[in-house]
């Protein structure tokens, strides 16, 4: 009787340990989150406006031979306009995951910034947002850093954009309770790993440890006599001192590598590195150094499609190679190999009807102005067997760009922590094994 009573009480107590939420030192209520599918997510925005016709429907031939199965040759009319690229990787990405062939960017303007915002916030913006205006709702970086348990530093969340303009603003929102304190480390390699930036940033004064102690003492005195603190918000995303030192070292090493010519053509591409390739290469360097849990990198070179259809097709091939190279880099990174899900998705498509700009190969260019075809895109989730359904193609209309944020949250195990009503989409369950 006593033994049975003991076992019963012990069982209840043990259950209590696992089910009762407790308060973290930060004061945040901790409740057991859903289990993770993988510990890392890399979202590659195959952006710039990609039509399904040229990508997964292959009407100009297989312009994505690293992603898609098939040996269709490039259409003879534009073949001469294609750059020489390294040979495709043997394993096609399509076979390593689930391909949604009829994905949708269903609402909102088909502008790059608006559509990027939709992918990164999980919500459609039905009113055109002003450029450089932060999103109205939290981004995936904010959801991750606020709701993941335990809380992760910004070294675990990265937003790598291939251009400046409005894109830095997509890091974090002005939503109450979120904001810069939960943003990612933002990086735009083309501007910062450049000759001009090196000229003004590449030769900082280095202080000894004892000098740094003196500096810290005086700075602390000054800060104690001033009411405001220059931290997250006014200062963007701030990192603790130790993380900031790692970031600084990363920048220094990047400059050293660039000076040594290691950024010139690291992939030995016969036609050199495109902007997209360079951006993805920089993302790989961050993966190699920090093994972040969440990294978002975008490409945009296909946007040349406004004025040059053949270059649009050519840049799609380069972007395809870059994505495959990224996946290879992930697989050769300890900790991320076999523990990463990569999501590849354009932000929107392009119009069905071309504009009037003719290229040298007799092809008309394509804009993106809200017609039905400019909302038709694809989405690919690749990941380890047992986590992501392998070699699956979903040809019916399923999935939207607003489903990307819930899917990432589900993969990283904090989907159930996001307050109700914040997200409009749902996780792409069909892709999860």
């Amino acid at each position: 009787m006593k033994r049975r009573s003991f076992i019963k009480k012990a069982g209840i107590a043990t259950a209590g340990v696992f089910s009762v939420p407790y308060i973290l030192p930060s004061g945040r209520l901790f409740a057991a989150t859903g289990s993770r599918i993988a510990d890392h997510v890399v979202l590659c925005l195959f952006a710039g406006g990609v039509r399904n016709l040229e990508s997964i429907q292959k009407i100009e031939g297989n312009l994505m031979p690293n992603t898609l199965l098939g040996n269709e040759t490039v259409h003879p009319q534009i073949a001469a306009g294609m750059s020489a690229l390294p040979l495709p990787f043997s394993a096609k990405l399509q076979t390593q995951g689930t391909l949604f062939k009829e994905f949708r960017y269903a609402a909102g303007s088909t502008g790059h910034f608006n559509a990027h915002s939709s992918v990164l916030t999980g919500r459609y913006n039905l009113v055109d947002v002003n450029l450089k205006q932060r999103p109205a709702y939290p981004t995936i970086f904010e959801y991750y850093r606020k709701h993941n348990s335990p809380s992760m530093s910004a070294l675990n969340a990265w937003w790598i954009s291939n251009s400046l303009g409005p894109y830095p603003a997509l890091n974090y929102s002005d939503y109450p309770g979120y904001g810069a304190a939960f943003g990612a480390n933002y990086f735009q390699p083309k501007s910062i790993i450049s000759e001009s930036s090196y000229e003004v940033m590449g030769n900082p004064k280095n202080f000894s440890t004892s000098e740094l102690e003196k500096i810290k003492k005086i700075r602390t005195f000054c800060d104690n006599n001033f009411a405001k603190s220059y931290t997250s918000g006014d200062a963007g995303v701030t990192n603790p001192m130790e993380d900031a030192q790692r970031l600084e070292q990363f920048l220094k090493d990047s400059y050293t590598d660039a000076l040594a010519g290691l950024y010139d053509n690291p992939w030995n591409s016969p036609s050199g590195m495109s902007g997209d390739m360079f951006n993805v290469f920089s993302a790989e360097k961050i993966i190699e150094r920090f093994q972040p849990e969440l990294l978002v990198v975008n490409m945009q070179d296909v946007d040349v499609g406004h004025t040059n259809f053949t270059s649009y097709c050519d840049n799609m091939r380069k972007a395809d190679y870059a994505v495959a190279h990224l996946w290879q880099a992930i697989q050769s990174t300890p900790g991320m190999s076999n523990n990463t899900v990569m999501i590849v998705v354009p932000e929107h498509g392009r119009n069905e009807v071309p504009n009037t700009v003719l290229d040298a190969y007799g092809r008309y260019a394509l804009d993106h102005t809200n017609d039905a075809m400019s909302r038709e895109i694809f989405c690919l989730l690749v990941g380890p067997p047992g986590k992501i359904v392998q070699n699956q193609v979903i040809s019916s209309i399923q999935g939207q760009t607003i489903d990307v944020v819930p899917s990432i949250a589900k993969i990283l195990g904090f989907y159930s922590e996001i307050p109700g009503g914040m997200l409009e989409g749902m996780p792409l369950e069909q892709a999860f094994a």
């Binding site: 501007s191 910062i192 001009s196 003004v200 030769n203 003196k214 995303v237 970031l247 600084e248």
Partner: protein, 171 residues
């Protein structure tokens, strides 16, 4: 009757005397000229009253002027703005910007000898340069003591500490 006349005369004389003193006597008194003046005072805002954070352009150009004593060239400003925009942690970038400025030989930082020759003036000048105000008594005492106690404390270290403090980011 006679005594009544005397009384009237006495009253008349008294009244006339009073009137004379009231008007004529007063006019003989020398006027005092009061001259009011104002002592010259340097007006600086108090440290806590700086509500606005400096913009990127403001921070870079002010930091450059504070270190080099001249206006930043336009091409340098553009290059720095580009690097600044391309990195999310602005605090880190600002520290790098200042350290790059400090590492250039053309900077106009006082020498150790200049600081040691007149530490009090150095403290006042530095506060005005970076915080646009004079140090209060406590701040003045702290810096005076710190400089006196640590001969290895260079103007460069003081400059960097103050330029990376919270107050320097606001105006």
């Amino acid at each position: 009757m006679i005594s009544m006349k005397k009384s009237i005369h006495f009253r008349l004389i008294l009244t006339l005397s009073f009137i004379w003193f009231a008007f004529a006597g007063n006019s003989c008194k020398k006027e005092t000229d009061y001259v009011y003046g104002v002592t010259d005072v340097d007006l600086y805002p108090p440290g806590a009253d700086k509500p606005n954070v400096k913009s990127t352009t403001e921070f870079i150009s002010i930091a450059y002027s504070d270190i080099f004593g001249t206006t930043i060239p336009q091409d340098k400003l553009i290059k720095l703005q580009l690097a600044y925009s391309a990195f999310g942690d602005q605090k880190l970038i600002e520290e790098l910007v200042v350290r790059n400025f400090l590492n250039q030989p053309a900077n106009a930082i006082p020498t150790q000898a200049e600081m040691s020759a007149n530490p009090e003036q150095f403290i006042k000048d530095t506060y005005i340069k970076f915080f646009s105000r004079k140090p209060d008594e406590y701040e003045f005492y702290y810096f005076k003591t710190t400089l006196a106690q640590d001969p290895a404390l260079t103007p460069e270290l003081v400059y960097y500490a103050m330029m990376t403090s919270n107050e320097y980011r606001y105006y």
